[in-house]
Symmetry: C2
Subunit: 334 residues, 2 copies
């Protein structure tokens, strides 16, 4: 009998599933359309069938699976294995996904939110390997987070810990979708970076916390907006690399906001390593080095800090790897 | 044989020692002058003798002591039981306090920083009782902190976690003693509250993050400064209670900074309860309610937060109770 772990990344559009051995080496993986409008019964049935098919393709059996991990966005009662509701899957209301999948597959099911799962993946076999205290940020539409303290995920009193994008760094600053003002997400997510660039190109300079000192009309990003009707964070970093001053100012605002947040995390759970993931890290060193520069400029002088700031290494597979790794960890901790 | 725990609060001026039963009920306590200038050998010897005397007074013996807890300010390698150096005890350099005290008393010694120890005391038998996730702030000369996540203190990768006073809430804001700018400590500690009041009384209104909109000359605090040569945080809250507008503005700045920090902690480790301790909580409900008001004003609207914000209940004894409680917890976890 082999000791295999299954990792499932349940998204609104696709379900990714991977089969891993006990060293967390990927044996095989697949992706199927979620078709969430078919309802939870059908989706969970397909999930189980896809796992069975992966096992069959690998010449393995259901009893070879030690545990299954699932990551999905909330809100959910993760410890109870229930999806409360889902923005991308409107028919999923109070779905006991763990019990339903366990009935089909037999193996124990471990369940957590997608950011925690990706965080755990990086911790177990990616950029966080070898440390016991780590903080994780995903830079996408919003900013997601995960915290590992002394080798365990921090879940908090109501399983809403590590909503790190909503730490307030500029009280009374920019409006955030969450209803707060001045969240780091309102400055430094990929979407907010793009939005600040667009505002800077469109609007004349005005008073505010992070404002363009460079006229938008002179920026090469103006042409992007005129031609494409939008500016993305990718555009910002491309034009920064090409020397555009406004792009630099916008990107600096992003890096500074992230650096301040890193400093605040250092003074909170004191990670040894801070890992950034998500689409925006494609910007590369031009982003990473600027975060480090601001970190070193704004951090206290009391002692030299041991924290390492780096990018995630697992890419798109973080979700399935993390889910399998978390299943293994939880199983071992039983 | 009884099962007793000793709690020691080692400060630069006094050593407080308490003897507790297994229910953490105080049997007896005492306080002796530290006389740190006599050096670590003498101080630790006196510590042991004082424990022996407390035991004798209570009709108990050395073998009745299950474990001893010590809290002291850092920097120290707590897990190794070594005080690296001490601002208030200059002769304490690389002192293996745990080994030295263990040789004299026989019992295992548990060692942590003073803020963590007080935090644990409130968690075990004070304002944090009954929750598993708690955050603790001490409002004194500076702002100290402690974090309990899932029933354990968060220590961080180099035992410097929970330096919560140095979370940056106003980037590029007021200078802090730590070398950063805009730390919550630079606004909301007892000392900073007093300092902001004095600056507001002395200086004409000027641009800045939190600035007096009320002329200092019209404040009743001006008379305090003229007569006493200083303003304390106690003065601020007394004059706030008496209706002084400037005192209100200063106190509002303090409460807002603390509320923003509470929100940030909620989005980090998600405590069920946030406990404030330290001299400044003597201000009472006029402080606590204002923190809650700002918290409710600035927190997101995504969901109703379950966090309770309250004051510590153990007062001056938090250090010895916490040290004994931590000794018991660590011993039980062995």
């Amino acid at each position: 009998m082999s000791e295999m772990f299954v990792g499932i990344d349940l998204g609104g559009t696709n379900i990714k599933i991977g089969l891993f051995d006990s060293e967390l080496k990927l044996i095989c993986k697949t992706s199927v359309a979620t078709k969430a409008d078919m309802g939870p019964e059908v989706v969970i049935d397909k999930m189980a069938q896809t796992v069975e098919k992966l096992l069959a393709d690998a010449g393995l059996f259901r009893h070879d699976v030690v545990a299954v991990g699932i990551g999905t966005p909330g809100p959910a009662k993760y410890s109870e294995g229930v999806i409360i509701k889902s923005t991308n899957m409107p028919k999923f209301k109070n779905v006991p996904i763990c019990r339903m999948l366990n009935e089909k597959l037999g193996a124990p099911i471990v369940f957590d939110n997608d950011a925690n799962v990706a965080c755990w993946g990086e911790y177990a076999v990616g950029a966080g390997k070898g440390v016991k205290d780590m903080v994780f940020f995903t830079l996408g539409t919003g900013i997601g987070g995960g915290i590992i303290s002394n080798g365990e995920l921090v879940h908090g009193c109501a399983e809403n810990a590590a909503e790190l994008g909503h730490m307030i760094i500029y009280p009374d600053g920019r409006e955030c979708n969450c209803g707060q003002r001045g969240c780091v997400e309102a400055y430094a997510s990929a979407d907010s970076t793009a939005r600040r660039a667009r505002e800077a190109v469109e609007a004349p300079p005005k008073a505010g916390m992070i404002r363009p000192g460079v006229a938008g009309a002179e920026s090469s990003l103006k042409k992007v907006l005129d031609e494409k009707g939008q500016i993305t964070s990718k555009d910002v970093y491309e034009h920064l690399a090409a020397g555009d001053k406004l792009a630099k100012e916008i990107a600096d605002g992003t890096a500074k906001a992230l650096a301040i947040t890193c400093i605040n995390m250092l003074h909170t759970t004191e990670p040894k390593r801070i890992v950034f993931a998500g689409g925006m890290i494609a910007a590369g060193d031009i982003l990473l080095n600027r975060i480090k520069d601001y970190f070193n400029e704004y951090i206290w002088t009391l002692k030299k800090e041991p924290v390492e700031i780096c990018f995630a290494t697992l890419g798109e597979d973080a979700g399935i790897i993390g889910a399998a790794a978390l299943a293994q960890h939880t199983k071992n901790g039983d």
